[in-house]
Amino acid sequence: MRKIFAFGVLTSALFFTGPAFAAVSEETTYILNTFSFLVNGVLVMFMAAGFAMLESGLVRAKNTAAICLKNIALYSVAGLAYYVVGYNLMYVDVGNIMGKFALFYNPSGAELALINAEEATDGLVSAVVDSGYSTMSDWFFQMVFVATAASIVSGTLAERIKVWPFIIFVTVLSAVIYPIQASWVWGGGWLDAAGFSDFAGSTLVHSVGGWAALTGALILGARRGKYGSGGSIHPMPGANLPLATLGTFILWFGWFGFNGGSQLALGSALDASAMALVFVNTNLAAAAGVVTAMALTQAIYGKMDLSMCLNGALAGLVSITAGPDLQNPLLSIIVGGVGATLAVLVVPLLDKVKIDDVVGAIPVHLVAGIWGTLAVGIFGSGSFTTQLMGIVAVGVFVSVVSSVVWLALKYTIGIRVSEEEEEMGLDTFELGLEAYPEFGRAM
């Protein structure tokens, strides 16, 4: 019997005589907060696999090994860059505009002292516990967010960007661009002071990736043959839709960590309750996104487009990310549904203006990210104008700096593969191997 379970359980808690009400001990709070960062962080880490599969499924077979390599490389590089300078720039001694430029972010002295002590004395434990959570657990949780922002870029620019310039861009993004703007809010900088609210990063993570992708797409240009003369569009269907579906499910799975872990604590009944609410809102928004995209593509095109329904799930997730703490879950259905509607409508619009976004990262992460951030000003606790100001500030900063980096790369080492490489596929030229060497060709 499911519901009426709690009695036996609570009885054992009652032996605890002491005072009238039994709260959580400080050390337990520390452990739970830390463990929440680790468990939720691991879920977010797995989103790297989700992006890799989504993108592997939506590119053509001849570029699949290259997109796999880019995905594992970007996750790696983002983590290293964030260790070397990113975290410090984002969180340490943040002024209005950015944190400290310092190399490496290491465990706190108090924690090392406790780990190295002969005996865990009261004083040593207390010194550690005071910080609320382990420093490295927070680093880990923040690091996986950087990687997410970087993942967004690879999907848009797939099938034509060279590997190494892409890696360099990701390095700059993770070491400098992302941390600086994130310090404005999560580091306690000027935008936070202004009251801007972004729970888990519709703007700070998803739109940032989206702006970087958009500027990249403009500077890199479309895939050859995508846009014909006279406005005709030549779709280039993804080679492996089950992998794209798997990727979407993995992202959805990881998103519980993304949004839930952004409660940043688990050490009190309040935090646990809030995290549960976040999980529910996250799921409902994504579900609403799928159903909306199904209905819309059926209505507009007469057939359901699986790739757009997958985008719908992700647009729902991105939309709810800025405010997954809505107290009425019904609102999250609205937020997710509107986000998916925007994504479904923007996909063909981008093609109209010849912005070639292979996997739909711009509609999903940038457009739905903006919507989600504004939604906090509509349904949530934020102010609409402050939200708008934050969106614009981050957008301008990321677009300008990204453009500078893309242009610098373009006019030095070049960012685009040759025409022949593009035609034959990046796999053969940049990697020297094929993703599916055998299919249809058992030789």
Partner: protein, 112 residues
């Protein structure tokens, strides 16, 4: 000798194979192809853009036969592959100059 090349609908492969077996014709080579004819492809939609999937999946069958068997084989395939709807496919007949069975080195009709 003749080589008969038939382009048929994929679900018809089994019945064509059976029809040929009944004739005692036991060798054939099959290739997956795509075709374009009276039967145009579907219109597909991908990410909001329509496009013509102009080529429809078909199966190509190649059977090498003795001149005397050609007629019966052609008839058998035609019958087995027939549905009466558009896209049923075509048969093309080639002259075969020679044939060799690699295992034994036999050549000509006995190699079929």
């Amino acid at each position: 000798m003749k080589l008969i090349m038939a382009i048929i609908k994929p679900p018809k492969l089994d019945s064509v194979k059976e029809a040929l077996s009944e004739l005692g014709q036991s060798g054939m080579t099959v290739t997956e192809v795509r075709g374009y004819g009276r039967q145009r492809g579907q219109t597909a939609i991908y990410r909001g853009a329509e496009y013509a999937v102009s080529f429809v999946p078909k199966i190509k069958i190649e059977v090498a036969v003795d001149d005397g068997d050609a007629e019966r084989v052609i008839e058998a395939i035609s019958k087995a592959a027939h549905t009466g709807s558009i896209g049923d496919g075509k048969l093309f007949i080639f002259d075969l100059q020679g044939s060799i069975r690699i295992r034994t080195g036999e050549s000509g009709v006995s190699a079929l």
